[in-house]
């Protein structure tokens, strides 16, 4: 992106000296980087480099052994996933994690759970504020459906949809939480070129229209280079590169990690 400077804001997320080990296996070693507001940051690296672990640390699924995370000015060592969610961090998963038997609409609606305030009973009886709330949430969900252009499958059970569309629905559910920081774990894995183009378009649109900050993991280098403002490269749990796509493309250490070193 050439107009990077125009849209970037202050730092929204800063990770410092994060280390994570499972028993003797060091998944992450002393990782530090920062994410600016409205930025699209890609995390890349070979298989097992610790990319998904990094995302899991950010949204509180894993608790790091050392280091700290500063999110919107609050420093903490660890947080729980629901805390992350309530503070505006949403994510999608490498393997689709949707409710297969439920409709697209209902699946996206689940993304609104944290925004629902009405009591259980009121919701069951569909009275008073619960009713207004439901209408408000449904409206938001419909806007997302419109945004992602999935009107025609609104009422289709997710299990009956092709893979590419399921990925889109998952993005929709993450968007339903109106996140400030969106974590996408391989949003384009297993897609064909057309589906990848669509998904890239939506990611850029989300970033542009809603100003959402996006951290994504992706293997397709073409997509990564086109989409991201900045790239962080991990290898064996260590950060070996951090910079704009052009910088990364010319980074010797990164080239070695991807292509192997000839002695």
């Amino acid at each position: 992106m050439n107009d990077t400077d125009r849209k970037l804001g202050p730092t929204i997320l800063q990770v410092e000296g994060i280390s994570l080990a499972f028993g003797g296996v060091k998944a992450l070693t002393n990782i530090s980087f920062e994410v600016k507001e409205h930025e699209i940051l890609a995390i890349i690296g070979p298989n097992g480099a610790g990319k998904s672990s990094m995302l899991n640390v950010i949204n509180g699924v894993y608790h790091p052994n050392a280091g700290s995370i500063t999110y919107k000015g609050n420093v903490r060592q660890q947080m729980k996933p629901h805390e992350a969610a309530s503070q505006g961090i949403a994510r999608t998963f490498q393997n689709i994690a949707l409710f297969k038997g439920m409709s697209v609409l209902d699946n996206i609606m689940t993304g609104r759970t944290l925004k629902m305030n009405a009591g259980f009973l009121a919701q069951c009886l569909y009275i008073g504020s619960a009713r207004n709330e439901e209408i408000e949430h449904r409206k938001k969900v419909e806007e997302i459906i419109d945004f992602l252009q999935i009107q025609s499958i609104r009422k289709t059970p997710v299990g009956r949809l092709p893979y590419g569309l399921q990925k889109r629905v998952e993005l929709g559910r993450a968007l339903a939480a109106e996140p400030e920081l969106l974590l996408l774990d391989e949003p384009m894995a297993g897609m064909n070129i057309e589906e990848k183009e669509d998904m890239s378009r939506f990611i850029l649109d989300v970033n542009d229209e809603f100003g959402t900050t996006i951290v994504l993991i992706e293997h397709d280098m073409g997509v990564v280079m086109d989409l991201s403002d900045r790239i962080v490269v991990l290898d064996y749990g260590k950060k070996i590169g951090d910079g704009t796509p052009t910088e990364i493309r010319n980074n010797k250490e990164v080239i070695d990690a991807y292509l192997g070193v000839s002695d």
Partner: protein
Amino acid sequence: MDSSSPSAREDTLSALILKNAKVIGSKTAIREKDLGIWQSWSWADVAEEVKWLAGGLSAKGYVRGSNLAIIGDNRPRLYWSFAASQSLGGIPVPLYQDAIAEEMIYVFNDAEIEFAIVEDQEQVDKLLEIMPQCSKLRCIIYDDPRGMRHYDHPAVMSYEEVRDLGLNFIQETPDFLERELEKCHTDDISVILYTSGTTSKPKGVCLTHRACIDVAQGDMGFDGYTDDGEILSYLPMAWVGDHLFSYAQSIVTGYTVNCPESSETVMTDLREIGPTYYFAPPSVFENLLTQVTIRMEDASKIKKWLYKTFMAVAQKSGLDIIDGRSVSIKNRILYFIGNIFIYAPLRNNLGMSRIKVAYTGGAAIGPDLYRFYRAIGINLKQLYGQTETLAYVCKQPNGEARLDSVGTPMPGVEIKVGEKGEILVKSPGLLKEYYKNPQATEESITHDGFFRTGDAGFIDQDGHLKIIDRAKDVGTLNDGTMFAPQFLENKLKFFPFIKEVVCFGDKRDAVCAFINIEMDAVGNWAERQGIGYSGYVDLASKPEVYVLLQTCIEQVNQDLAKDDTLSGSQIKRFLILHKELDADDDELTRTRKVRRDFVAEKYEVLVTALYNDAKECFIETQMKFEDGRTGVISANISISDAKTSQSTLELAA
């Protein structure tokens, strides 16, 4: 409405909108599904919206007599753009949104377009791209703001901005629109519809307010349209059928137009709306039937049995019932039961429960398709017309729907048969002229005011019009029999095994045909018969396939024998081509019409072989692969005879 001096005139479409706003102001005029909910606008709302938009356009410098391009899917705001332009004495020019750039540039320059109202970013991008070549274009207004945030081109603005301009403008000059309306005349051009010429540049067909209103009233009387009707508008706005059905007819009749959410949701929206009037080209009806058939294949045994049994009942008595002919009590009871278990649920599933009348036209409809819909109680009929006649020539009256005719002339329509059997039409919907093309106007309209349709046909003893072919393709056999290739080809193409046919016969002794098999259908058939084949060329040369096609042709011959005019043009000999006719090899046009002369020339050897008594013929042809390389394929093609049937006339003699 705040207008204090009601306009007495009701002879323009824009005046009629104001009348609707007064007389049926609270009735729903148009709906659009947005964010999953059907949003409605009453006639009073529509009149206001049109007024504001007209004010805004005027404030931006849109003047009387200028043209307004409209491009996009069927959206309420785009329909209001027609009305806004018309109330200012301007002329809306809808364009096909998938038109290629070259064609768009041509139309923009031909119509000297300064203002365009489009649906979304996609269209804006397209117009900005061609803007350097369209010298007059200076204002692009978009409806959907999605993705438009970063556009700062001075010519681009949103619909809201224009409407807000209009609001101010109207507040300053409240009687502005009334004054503008007074200046509009019923014989003014109300719309220009460009017809895409297959050979020449597109021609702009100019239609008047009077034509639109007269035709809409004629149709209303004929089919009994009322203001509580519902239609779904999903066909291109640049097409005459949609302009008449979703715009003019709605204004004249007052029925409700429904705009689908997106082109992918049309089927769902159709079911939700349950329109009372419906128009679709044959291909849409065909797709629907295919879906039904496929879903029935997956149904349980009992359901399959029920479907099969009762569809047989429907085929037997359904047609008689819908046409009002006498049916035995037993069959009536059976049909009644079938209606409860199969036909009514099926109609509901198709979104056709409430349909009073459904029309199809524009292409030939297959007999099975036609019978299917009528048999399950959907009043599907054919109509005949073209852009130049505002689709108002012939319609099938209720109870007289026949497969082989396109109906009887509509009230006010006169039909003559000219040279070579060409149909000449005088219709209230007749075009005023071709836009800036007096030569074309002169060529198309006779001195006594009849339009040359270019279709060949005749009127039978019951007063029904039968269309047989394009007049220029119609020829004669050496014995003087009329030869209508497309008519024969269409008859053959209704067989699922046949993909394409080219018939020869003009100035020859008999009719012979080239056939392309439909790979899927024939391949499937061959597998079930246990016939092995390696590919298209192999399958096309199998003697068994020849026998299969021979039966198809003989069936058509039998059919032809029943018709006195056509019995002489039965197909005597045929061959199956070793390759599919392809647009890449210039054998078809891009719209998949056979280029008859080119094919005849390219395969001259084969044509000669058809007319001498050869049993086989060797041919070598070049073909282009998809990557642009060319290759040669050769084959020994067998030629087969088909039995012809005796005509009823000869039998009687």
